[in-house]
């Protein structure tokens, strides 16, 4: 490896720029002042207490949890169907169908949300947590398909053929051979969909009709300067949570690929 001090310090500076705002979270979450500005005023855990006592916040967190768990489950199941079909089988219309499924990745989220909203309003389906789940599943499924496709691709086809030759049915082969091998991919997909849904704002805001949902609640609270410090405390917790979940997802994904005999490369995307 050649040394490149200039590039190296640029990259470190870039990382600082990326992390800068996030590093402010814990600093001001423990700062004993309602005003978020330097110089710091002293240490307090009061904002965490204020956050924990906020009943609306707890409701919002509960709703977000319900939504994220449902979205992660449904997207992963839909992802399994699509990924398995596209990796293993050839069938007419595969290209267009897969493009349609992956389309939300290249559409501005606002368009997806608005199109769905117009239809829901026109046929008179009331907005609720359920409609948020419907919309977010649409956004998360492409991510699930992408992760699961690489999981299914690294499967050795001969294992499956051997099981079929030894008299297993297609379903029991899937359950006994394929499912355990792609399990890490399934978990990774579940965790990533969970994280995306938990953070998602546009669909939660427009298809949720003012139901308390965490991202929407945070967005609202930042407009009141007095509420900002407790939101920073919440942010600190959420950032920690996402890092833990993602670290775990990445670990599962690597283990899955290694288990199937593949080589780990790149990141999630």
């Amino acid at each position: 490896m050649k040394k490149a001090p200039g590039l190296r310090s640029y990259t470190l500076f870039y990382l600082l720029f990326l992390y800068g705002p996030i590093l402010l979270l814990p600093i001001f979450a423990f700062n004993d002042s309602r005003v978020v500005a330097f110089p710091l005023q002293g240490f307090t855990t009061g904002w965490f207490a204020e956050m924990a006592a906020d009943q609306n916040l707890r409701n919002a967190a509960k709703n977000s949890l319900i939504i994220a768990l449902s979205v992660a489950t449904i997207s992963t199941v839909l992802g399994i169907f699509a990924a398995r079909a596209s990796v293993r089988y050839r069938f007419p219309g595969k290209g267009p169908l897969m493009s349609m499924i992956m389309l939300p990745l290249v559409l501005p989220e606002m368009i997806v949300a608005m199109a769905l909203l117009v239809v829901l309003l026109s046929i008179g389906i009331p907005l609720s947590l359920f409609t948020v789940i419907l919309g977010q599943t649409l956004i998360c499924t492409p991510f699930a398909v992408a992760i699961l496709t690489s999981a299914f691709q690294s499967l050795d086809r001969s294992l499956e053929e051997a099981a079929l030759d030894l008299g297993e049915t297609p379903w029991s082969t899937f359950r006994l051979i394929i499912l355990p091998l792609v399990m890490p991919g399934i978990l990774a997909s579940f965790l990533i969909c969970f994280t995306i849904s938990f953070d998602e704002f546009i669909i939660a805001n427009f298809l949720g009709s003012g139901q308390p949902i965490l991202s929407v609640y945070i967005f609202g609270q930042f407009r009141f300067p007095a509420k900002v410090p407790s939101m920073l405390a919440l942010g600190t917790l959420l950032v920690l949570l996402s890092i833990i979940l993602l670290g775990f997802a990445e670990y599962m994904r690597r283990r899955g690929i290694a288990k199937a005999g593949g080589k780990v490369s790149g990141g999630f995307l």
Partner: protein, 287 residues
């Protein structure tokens, strides 16, 4: 168990059907509806016949709408250019100067901020750039004049968006740099080219597909971003997404809102196709 192509096709279709049906019902049908609504007549909360191109004409004739569309396009292009240019050296560093076993750690470090709550990251900028916020108070401590950047709405929107989508750009560029055949670089230098010329004539053209992919990945969500103009720009500088929201939700003008949505999709589509065509040149040249 050998399968005939016919039964294989049937199994495949059966397997993909739950996902396909979901997407058709919840994405294809709504998009088609928006397309149809955009050529209908309508008022508050109603859509009716006759079919008309009035909504698109409205978009053309009212300079406010044109201004917002154009502004969104320009902001997104500036953000895209800034993000890609800032990300390139980082991707280059990780690909060429980091030991192979350390690469994924660096990539993981770069991608983490992207996965942490988008709302919190954007809202934090609101606190940083705002009047008497972190930036200005820091400057005051050092004895400098406050900048009050938040009052320059478009500039602060650009800064925030460039930060929010920065990690998106590194990965595709990194992937394309990894594919660059290292022996070509040695060949270039053996033939007497300087390192800089080798970079310009070999590495950069070969990594262009990644650069263009990065540009697309940043451009699409940026042009449709709703949160940043709403929060950082204080709502004073609406972009397309905010315009669509106003028409569809606040004014309940479905046809007009749909026309805006279709127009913005067209805009995104045209820019994307331009990027893809540009990319084709480089893929062709790489052969």
């Amino acid at each position: 168990m050998a399968q005939t192509p016919r039964s294989e096709a049937r199994t495949g279709l059966k397997l993909i059907s739950p996902t396909a049906i979901y997407v058709i019902l919840l994405l294809a049908v709504p998009l088609a509806t928006v397309l149809v609504y955009s050529v209908m007549t309508g008022g508050r909360g109603i859509v009716s016949f006759p079919l008309t191109f009035e909504n698109y004409a409205e978009l053309w004739s009212k300079s406010v709408y044109g201004y917002i569309m154009l502004k969104s396009l320009l902001v997104a292009l500036v953000v895209t250019a800034a993000t890609v240019i800032l990300a390139y050296p980082v991707a280059y560093f990780v690909s060429f100067h980091v030991k192979p076993e350390r690469k994924s750690l660096w990539l993981f470090l770069i991608t983490i901020p992207f996965w942490t709550s988008y709302i919190i990251r954007v809202s934090l900028w609101f606190v940083i750039l705002g009047y008497g916020g972190v930036l200005d108070s820091t400057l005051a401590v050092v004895g400098l004049q406050p900048l009050n950047l938040a009052s320059y709405s478009i500039l602060s929107i650009i800064i925030v968006l460039a930060h929010a989508y920065a990690p998106f750009a590194v990965l595709p560029i990194f992937v394309s740099l990894e594919k660059v055949d290292r022996s070509l670089l040695e060949a270039g230098q053996d033939l007497g080219e300087s390192r800089w010329v080798t970079f310009l004539r070999v590495t950069l053209p070969l990594s262009m597909p990644g650069v263009i992919a990065a540009a697309l990945i940043v451009f699409i969500p940026t042009v449709g971003d709703y949160v940043t103009p709403e929060l950082v720009g204080d709502g004073k500088e609406p972009m397309i997404a905010n315009l669509i929201e106003t028409q569809l939700l606040k004014l309940q003008n479905f046809p007009q809102g749909s026309a805006f949505a279709v127009a913005s999709m067209l805009m995104v589509g045209i820019v994307s196709v331009a990027f893809v065509l540009w990319n084709r040149r480089f893929i062709g040249g790489a052969k």
